[in-house]
């Protein structure tokens, strides 16, 4: 959660009808850890940049699978969306 305007509803449902399945599910919702921000800022980054890097990190498993030009585009879009929107 990056700001006080946002809302997130997570509604996962598991429907299991046999005993051979082994199903697990986990989810976590929260704000960006202050410790992570502090660590990145202690390395010389601004707060905005630190947050932007962390958010890009969340998208990394997806962007890694994309062709290079799309991955770069996606990261730029995230950066653009994030600039000045947090803090």
């Amino acid at each position: 959660m990056l700001d006080s305007e946002s809302r997130s509803d997570t509604i996962p449902v598991m429907d299991i009808r046999n005993d051979e399945a082994d199903v697990g599910h986990e989810a976590k919702i929260g704000r960006i850890s202050d410790t992570a921000i502090f660590y990145l800022m202690s390395r010389g980054l601004s707060e905005d940049d630190a947050r932007s890097i962390i958010v890009s990190g969340f998208a990394e498993p997806i962007s890694r699978e994309l062709p290079m030009e799309y991955a770069v585009e996606m990261n730029n879009l995230i950066k653009l969306e994030m600039s000045g929107s947090i803090g």
Binding site: P12, V13, M14, D15, D19
Partner: protein, 363 residues
């Protein structure tokens, strides 16, 4: 007489209807009349039984919803209004036991628990049945925990296989209060449970531990909701159970962070063991988040007994059946340990052992 409640245990936010978890109709045969039923109560001296529910009990919402509450109020034939005065630490638990059977086939109990400032109280309710005839139980319990009060509510259901049962709880907490609800849903043909807590006061907390056992064609349906309203509120909701034969279970757990509940934390988890290809398990763990500075987490695991655990126990000389029993018992232990009566704990363990012994899958 047929009881039809169109929708109980409704999810706070609806999802696809075809999943069948938005809510459940509750139908069952109930007797026409509900003659006065008496429970066996053990009341410590420091806890009083009031003549009326506490003021404002009517506005506390429950987990199963208004239809179930209205039904119980209409049919009410038993119930206690308990109160622990300011600063009172009850010297022992309140025990309430109901036995259903031919002489008392229907029970609709409406209870309230008021814990005044800095008080501490434990209430144990046990529902059991004599014989195998059809019996009905519907109960509503409302709890108001004032500033820094602590309430433990333990409800143990050991009804026969033809019983229709529901247990509905509503909670309101003030600053620094802590309410813990332990539900053991181990019998009945239909066993429904609900619990809704409104954590209004700053730093107030909710803990729920649920254990359930599905056997034959038992239908289990549960709905737990923690509404975080105040700052720095906490909720811990955990459920553990085993499903056998053709039983079905729906578990809904919702952590709802409302605007203003900053620095609140909510965790929920569910672990279910499956012992038959004919069981049906549905789990819906929700996190609703309208506040930025919160931490919500849920985890669920559904499947067979971990073969590594079985192997480890069997290398220690246990048979497969014994190893399975130990794993299942361990599943129920966190909740059982919170029952403040050795006698009742043993009764529950015996009940579980008997059920496991007669199940072919476990041996």
């Amino acid at each position: 007489m047929n009881m039809t409640l169109k929708q109980v245990n409704a999810l706070p936010v609806r999802t696809w209807n075809w999943l069948g978890v938005n809510g459940t109709p509750l139908e069952g045969d109930v007797p026409e009349s509900f003659p006065r039923a008496e429970g066996k109560i053990t009341l410590p001296d420091s806890v009083s039984s009031a003549a009326h529910p506490f003021e404002g009990a009517g506005i506390i919402r429950t987990g199963m919803g208004p239809e179930a509450e209205r039904f119980v109020l209409k049919k009410k034939n038993a119930g206690y209004d308990l109160e622990a005065g300011p600063g009172v630490k009850a010297e022992g638990p309140v025990f309430i036991e109901y036995r259903l059977g031919p002489s008392c086939p229907a029970l609709a109990d409406c209870n309230t628990i008021l814990a005044r400032e800095n008080s501490e109280l434990t209430v144990v309710m046990q529902y059991a049945s004599d014989g195998e005839g059809p019996v009905f139980h519907g109960g509503v319990t409302k709890i108001l925990a004032e500033k820094n009060a602590v309430v433990h509510l333990i409800q143990v259901q050991l009804l026969n296989d033809s019983a229709v049962h529901f247990d509905d709880v509503g909670i309101l907490t003030r600053e620094g209060a802590f309410v813990e609800v332990i539900h053991a849903e181990l019998g009945g043909s239909k066993a429904f449970a609900g619990c809704k807590a409104r954590l209004e006061g700053r730093r107030s907390r909710l803990g729920t531990e649920t254990i359930y056992l599905g056997e034959n064609s038992r239908e289990l349906d549960m709905n737990y909701v923690a509404e975080h309203i105040g700052r720095e509120t906490e909720s811990e909701m955990h459920a553990n159970g085993a499903l056998m034969d053709e039983s079905q279970k729906i578990y809904r757990g919702t952590i709802d962070f409302q605007l203003g509940a900053s620095r609140s934390v909510g965790h929920e988890s569910e672990y279910t063991l499956l012992f038959s290809p004919n069981v049906r398990n549905r789990t819906a763990p929700l996190i609703l988040c309208n506040e930025e500075d919160v931490e919500g987490q849920h985890a669920a695991s559904i499947g067979k007994i971990d073969p590594h655990k079985l192997f480890y126990l069997m290398t220690r000389g246990l048979s497969e059946a014994e190893a399975k029993r130990i794993v299942i018992e361990a599943q129920f232990t966190p909740a059982l340990e919170k029952i403040p009566s050795e006698e009742l704990r043993q009764t529950v363990l015996e009940w579980l052992k008997e059920r496991m012994d007669r199940n072919e899958t476990i041996g």
